[in-house]
């Protein structure tokens, strides 16, 4: 009984990720066919180069933001403002560095980065406040910052593209420690969050708040604090993602930095099998989802798909992956290859009453 149950569980756990992983593999194969050297990785000056590394590096910001988004979505929320936060993070950091006395020094870089993270944490605090304290629907609450955020970034940069020349700052997005620093940051954060949520009780509490907030509150879970924190964390992820994007080009573009990245992040989460209705989430799924999206973008370039049909191609792949993941489609597929459960201990044995003893209270004694 337990073995069949476990098998069923494993099967279910696998099926959730089967299709995104297959899609990812298929895309990679397409690339190898078009560009035979696609899987080649070279070591040059102690740095690793190659198409796969590029995918990881370019996907690092989306990956990081999708990480924050996963937790937000797990609590039944959504954060549309991450793209704006990306722009603000870059704007604050670059403006601060450009305005510093020693604009090429380490101190200027760290001040800029620190300021950006601080401001973005405040913005996340604001989102969390609107959602968890005022009870505004997340999609509306974060829409506020999505729209005003770009305006704030424009104000900070005076509407200009601010360029900086600071090697320390450039290190975040363009630096290497064998692998690009951006990859290390994103993967490191992923591992850390995975560890923290699954090794402590945080993951379970987040899921319980996402599945049934009322019941969680009555069971004594700090629903409000959890939801609030998750928005702050998501904004911080977006901030770091913004720093990567801006430092990679040593410039802050308030208009275009992180444009539509919120949609990529949400898509990555959904492809990864975390339902938008909240509850159970899968970080591994999000990882696969983010990689799939980035590989898709890369594929479009390497296969030389005409720019005017790029979006259509992307859309097609996304539709196929989502359709194939939909419960109905999955049910159809399952019915096709029905694994008949072996006749087992289905009918429980005759009930035996648990509390056997007669209550030991003395009757009518006063």
């Amino acid at each position: 009984m337990t073995t069949t149950a476990r098998d069923a569980l494993i099967r279910a756990g696998r099926s959730r990720l089967t299709w995104p992983v297959l899609a990812l593999v298929a895309l990679l194969l397409v690339n190898v066919i078009v560009t035979p050297s696609f899987f080649d990785i070279r070591l040059q000056d102690g740095h690793l180069y190659g198409s796969l590394i590029d995918i990881l590096k370019n996907g690092a910001p989306t990956l990081l933001i999708a990480l924050g988004m996963t937790l937000v979505i797990a609590t039944r929320g959504i954060d549309l403002s991450v793209g704006a936060v990306v722009a603000i993070a870059g704007a604050v950091a670059c403006t601060s560095i450009a305005g510093a006395a020693d604009s090429g020094g380490a101190a200027a870089a760290f001040t800029g980065i620190g300021l950006a993270l601080l401001l973005c944490a405040v913005l996340g605090f604001w989102n969390g406040f609107l959602v968890s304290v005022l009870g505004i629907q997340p999609i509306i609450a974060t829409l506020v910052l999505m729209i005003t955020g770009r305006g704030i970034a424009m104000l900070i940069t005076d509407g200009q593209i601010v360029t900086v020349n600071n090697p320390y700052y450039a290190g975040v997005g363009a630096g290497f420690v064998v692998l690009p620093v951006a990859i290390l940051i994103s993967v490191g954060m992923f591992a850390l969050v995975g560890l923290v949520t699954r090794r402590t009780a945080l993951g379970m509490l987040i899921e319980s708040v996402g599945i049934n907030p009322k019941a969680s509150r009555l069971a004594g879970v700090r629903s409000r604090t959890i939801v609030w924190t998750v928005y702050v964390f998501c904004a911080l992820c977006a901030a770091v993602g913004g720093l990567m994007i801006s430092s990679n080009v040593s410039a802050a573009d308030a208009n275009n930095a992180g444009l539509w990245i919120e949609l990529d992040a949400i898509l990555a989460v959904v492809i990864g099998g975390t339902a938008l209705s909240g509850g159970r989430y899968s970080l591994t799924g999000t990882l696969v989802g983010a990689l799939l999206i980035q590989t898709l973008t890369t594929t479009v370039y390497t296969t030389g798909i005409a720019p005017e049909i790029t979006l259509v191609f992307k859309a097609l792949v996304v539709i196929v992956v989502c359709l194939i993941q939909a419960p109905k489609a999955r049910a159809l597929l399952r019915r096709r290859r029905t694994p008949v459960a072996p006749p087992n201990a289905a009918a429980p044995p005759e009930p035996a009453v648990a509390v056997e003893t007669t209550p030991t209270r003395k009757v009518g004694q006063r």
Binding site: L218, R222, A347
Partner: protein, 522 residues
């Protein structure tokens, strides 16, 4: 299964409207139904009986097209049918009202009744015609409410009746009522039965599921009993005694049910310990008038009153689920500022809500996670309960409370109502509370589980736990409580104690409600 043949169909009609033969349904690892036959005749009220997990819901869902069957044939008026879904079943004339109200609380009563079949005029919804039609339908079931009022503004009981009005709105030959009475008070039940009789006399076949055995004998003509996914038999109600029915359902002798006859000891001897909880002038406007209440260790305090009398509201104030706007609370002799459930839990107060689905379960989490949720929340997220401790804890509660299946990894949504309720009880018991507030812990669960829970309450009290027990069933409250607080119209009207308190006396008070007639135990 010889009874199947002996049960006489109602006179005049020989052809069943629904005839299910050899129905089997299997879920991964569970045979929910095995080779079950079921017949329903026009113009009868047919009770479907069985413990939780016996397969009642599965059979209903097979009939109404929610589940597809693995084997077996369903005939509707003689023709074999396979429904692709609930809508198809409804089109074929099978309407269903589920236990949990499945309506849109944000729409009006009229919109809910006619949802999906609104009268139209030039392609647009004809609001006036809709109002008129809804009013007719409400009238037909004798429910006097404004059709344009928002459904959510009515109590659950009224919503239930609206759901029935909705089911009646379609010209259905078969009406399935899945525990329609679990949230109704006796007047409303009488009202519902009147409606059911009218429909029955018009030739509608009614399938009725309930846990209230009295109601089965009051309304049903015949019954089918299931146990563990198998058919036990089909009986004419008049020919089966109550004891016979119960033993058919649970498949064991009834000794233990009778043991629970009278659990309360009314031992109101001098107590040296301070009360676990003392409330003074606690109240919340619009919910319950200020009341005083003391609860002592080892005492079961029953709250009796009709639906909407303030039972649940009182309990929620004690737990801090709702904020009181007057009065104060002392726990163990010390004042406690109840800011919310967390402060209450920290002070040793636990609360099982009456709304199991909405305020208790975390349906997508496992039994294990559900069981340790309150304990984990109290410890904080940084201090997870060590896996070994957790497993031992969960195993021991699955064992003691006889929770089935005995699988900590099962999702709690897949458990039957009684087992879900036991997990929720266990969730609080692991926190070692001093005061346990149980709001309708036995609602909608079967006889066996009910007896187990009642016994458990008595045992816990014997161990010194203070318990507040709420139930719509007066007999149950009277049997189990040492002291009974009677509520009426959102006000505490009396407190009764002593072994001679009977159902009649409580009923009198609920009905007449002479305020503040305190009657000590002498």
């Amino acid at each position: 299964m010889t009874e199947t043949l002996s049960a006489a169909p109602p006179a005049a009609t020989a052809e069943p409207i629904v005839d299910m033969r050899g129905i089997s349904i299997e879920f991964p690892g569970v045979k929910a139904l095995q080779d079950v036959d079921f017949r329903l005749f026009p113009g009868e009220v047919h009770a479907l009986m069985g413990e939780n997990g016996a397969g009642k819901s599965t059979l209903i869902k097979a009939l109404t097209g929610v589940y597809s069957v693995d084997s077996g044939v369903t005939r509707l008026a003689g023709r074999p049918v396979t429904f692709s879904g609930p809508a198809a079943a409804q089109d074929a004339g099978i309407s269903t009202v589920y236990q949990e109200v499945n309506l849109c609380t944000n729409l009006t009563v009229a919109e809910n009744i006619l949802l999906g079949r609104e009268p139209r005029r030039f392609g647009a919804i004809d609001a006036r015609a809709m109002r008129v039609r809804a009013a007719e339908l409400l009238d037909r079931i004798g429910l006097d409410i404004d059709p344009v009022s928002v459904l959510g503004s009515h109590p659950i009981a009224v919503q239930q009746l609206v759901a029935i009005a909705r089911a009646v709105a379609v010209d259905s030959h078969v009406l399935v009522l899945d525990e329609p009475t679990s949230s109704l008070d006796s007047d409303e039940v009488a009202e519902l039965f009147r409606t059911m009789r009218v429909l029955r006399d018009n030739g509608v076949a009614i399938l009725f599921v309930t846990h209230f055995i009295d109601q089965v004998y009051e309304i049903s003509d015949r019954m089918t009993v299931l146990r563990n996914g198998r058919l036990v038999g089909e009986y004419a109600t008049a020919e089966l005694s109550r004891i016979g029915l119960v033993s058919a359902m649970i498949g064991r002798e009834l000794g233990e049910l009778e043991e629970v006859e009278r659990l309360a000891t009314h031992d109101t001897a001098e107590r040296s310990a301070p009360p676990v909880l003392r409330a003074k002038g606690l109240g919340r406007s619009g919910a319950i008038e200020p009341f005083d209440l003391e609860i002592n260790p080892g005492e079961v305090v029953g709250l009796a009153g009709l639906l909407g009398s303030g039972r649940t509201e009182l309990a929620r104030l004690l737990f801090g689920a709702d904020r009181a706007d007057s009065g104060r609370v002392e726990v163990g002799g010390n004042p406690l500022h109840l800011r919310g459930p967390r402060t209450a839990i920290a002070a040793g107060i636990a609360f099982c809500s009456e709304d199991r689905k909405g305020e208790g379960l975390i349906p997508d989490l496992s039994v294990r996670d559900n069981l340790v949720l309150a304990m984990q929340a109290a410890r904080g997220w940084t201090r997870p309960i060590p896996r070994r401790v957790k497993n031992e804890l969960v195993e021991s509660y699955l064992e003691t409370l006889d929770i089935r299946p005995r699988d900590p990894d099962a999702l709690i949504r897949n458990l039957s109502g009684g087992n879900q309720q036991k997990v929720l009880l266990a969730r609080w018991l692991v926190t070692k509370p001093k005061l346990l507030i149980l709001d309708e812990p036995t609602r909608g669960i079967d006889v066996g589980a009910k007896a187990q829970i009642q016994k458990l309450v008595a045992e816990l009290a014997a161990e010194g736990l203070a318990i507040v027990f709420i139930s719509a069933e007066l007999e149950e409250v009277v049997r189990i409580s040492d002291r009974i607080v009677v509520l009426r119209d959102r006000r505490k009207v009396a407190e009764l104690a002593g072994p001679d308190v009977g159902v009649d006396e409580v009923m009198d008070l609920i009905a007449s409600g002479e305020p503040e007639r305190e009657r000590a135990a002498s």
